[in-house]
């Protein structure tokens, strides 16, 4: 693509802005900062479009976002929060107070377990699980091998299961 062409740029933005923002949120857990950084990355690309190699632009935005975030976001404990769709209203079994409470508890345990993961494992896992990104695409965006992505996916699920078991004890 030609990053100086407004048409090309808009298409690229529509396709990638959401994913880039999510990547930042999954990694650093700060929503407001992630919004600003993702937007700024695209503004910078647009302003300096003539310097940018259109073929490498996808991994470039991830690198820029990561560097910017490390500059701005302090190393603190990551707190991730997700909203959730309500359970199936037509199925009586899923409407009992016991079920709803249990589901709520499980959600906060899983959020806590995710927050305690290494950022580079959590980001890969959530990009795949929440945004449906393929391993190959994650690997390309973050400059990793597919094998590395697969190892992280495996390890995260092992770690999450162990954490949640730990909370239950």
């Amino acid at each position: 693509m030609n990053p100086c062409d407004a048409q090309h740029f808009s298409v690229f933005y529509e396709k990638n802005a959401q994913s880039l923002f999510r990547y930042l949120y999954y990694t650093f857990g700060k929503e407001a900062e992630a919004q600003d950084i993702a937007q700024n990355v695209f503004v910078k690309i647009w302003e300096q479009c003539h310097k940018i190699d259109g073929t490498k632009i996808k991994s470039l935005i991830y690198t820029m976002a990561r560097n910017e975030a490390l500059n701005i976001i302090k190393h603190e404990k990551v707190v991730l929060e997700f909203s959730a769709t309500s359970p199936d209203r037509n199925n009586q079994e899923y409407q009992t107070p016991e079920f709803l409470i249990e589901q709520d508890e499980f959600k906060s345990k899983l959020e806590k377990a995710l927050s305690s993961l290494k950022p580079q494992e959590r980001q890969v896992f959530l990009m795949n699980r929440m945004d449906g990104m393929k391993y190959q695409e994650i690997a390309d965006n973050l400059g990793l091998s597919v094998k590395a992505v697969e190892k992280r996916m495996h390890h995260v699920l092992v770690a999450l299961r162990a954490q949640i078991k730990g909370f239950n004890r």
């Binding site: 740029f9 808009s10 933005y13 802005a17 959401q18 880039l20 923002f21 999510r22 949120y25 999954y26 929503e31 919004q35 993702a38 937007q39 695209f42 647009w46 302003e47 690198t63 990561r66 560097n67 490390l70 500059n71 701005i72 190393h75 997700f82 909203s83 959730a84 769709t85 359970p87 589901q103 499980f106 959600k107 899983l110 950022p119 580079q120 959530l126 795949n128 699980r129 929440m130 945004d131 393929k134 391993y135 973050l142 400059g143 990793l144 094998k147 590395a148 992505v149 697969e150 190892k151 992280r152 996916m153 495996h154 390890h155 699920l157 092992v158 999450l160 299961r161 949640i164 078991k165």
Partner: protein, 289 residues
């Protein structure tokens, strides 16, 4: 051995089905994995709220470098060169050792904040006229108003009036960032005049803007990773085997100066590198698995 296995990632992307995973891990463990993925399916991540209105605004223009400064500075350099021969005073040395940060007040009330593992020297009599300092390592200068103030290193030299700037000279690398006033930098045969928030180094040899970075030790704008690692060595008194580091890897950001592990993580993570201690003071870098 478990780290080498990826059957869970195969299951997550559908390469193996539920039955196959059950056969591998058993019914109970399978259910636990499934409860995690089912719960995640119900979740909704926050939405990106940016927009494209910036496409309609005119782009920022680069700040032009003023020719007058250059001419003035050339004149100043000539005077300074003469001054250098006239005043060869007794040398005073200031050293910030490994792990120590040091603020030194020069005879004219200018201050130099030395990062750990840095060294400066100047002529103790005649400094009032000459104001020339030799530096190796990194220092942030706040210069009192007055005659030209010069910082020399092996790779280049920097001249200023009243201003604030950082000189970073480590090994063969040389970078100057200007925070206030104007700074003239000479690298090889070329001269660069920096306005506030501009920087230049001896790799790119072009004046560019930087943003928001602090003028504190271990804060970097577009510096080769190998230079950053050399600073970490000086600050923490360790040795880093950095055979895997590519010359093209450039770091921007700020590192902790009182927590080695944190600093290493901050520096290495963007490049997907990990570190391990091979002995108490020696660290080996390797790609993250």
């Amino acid at each position: 051995m478990e780290e080498q296995e990826t059957y869970l990632s195969d299951w997550l992307d559908g390469s193996i089905n539920d039955q196959a995973l059950k056969a591998l891990v058993g019914e109970a463990e399978f259910r636990e994995y499934q409860s995690i993925t089912t719960e995640l399916n119900r979740w909704i991540a926050p939405e990106f709220k940016g927009d494209l209105t910036f496409l309609d605004q005119p782009k920022k223009k680069k700040i032009p470098v003023r020719a007058l400064w250059v001419r003035w500075s050339v004149a100043a350099s000539v005077l300074l060169a003469i001054g250098l021969f006239v005043f060869q005073g007794f040398s005073k040395q200031v050293i910030a050792t490994t792990g120590e940060e040091l603020v030194y007040v020069l005879p004219d009330n200018s201050t130099a904040r030395l990062s750990p593992g840095s060294e400066l020297s100047f002529s103790s009599w005649g400094f009032a006229w000459k104001r020339t300092i030799s530096l190796s390592g990194q220092a942030f200068f706040k210069v009192a108003k007055g005659a030209t103030f010069t910082v020399e290193s092996d790779q280049g030299f920097t001249q200023v009036l009243g201003t604030e700037f950082t000189v970073h000279s480590r090994g063969n690398y040389y970078q100057v960032r200007c925070f206030e006033g104007s700074v003239e930098v000479k690298i090889d045969q070329n001269k660069y005049v920096l306005a506030p928030y501009q920087w230049v180094d001896n790799l790119n040899q072009a004046v560019e803007r930087f943003e928001g970075a602090e003028n504190s030790p271990l804060s970097y704008w577009s510096v080769p990773l190998s230079v950053v690692l050399a600073d970490i060595e000086a600050v923490y008194g360790i040795e880093i085997d950095r055979a895997v580091v590519q010359p093209s890897w450039i770091f921007t950001g700020k590192l902790d100066h009182d927590n080695l592990n944190q600093a290493l993580n901050q520096a290495l993570w963007p490049f997907n590198l990990e570190y391990k201690f091979v002995s108490e003071h020696k660290i080996l870098l390797q790609p993250t698995q």
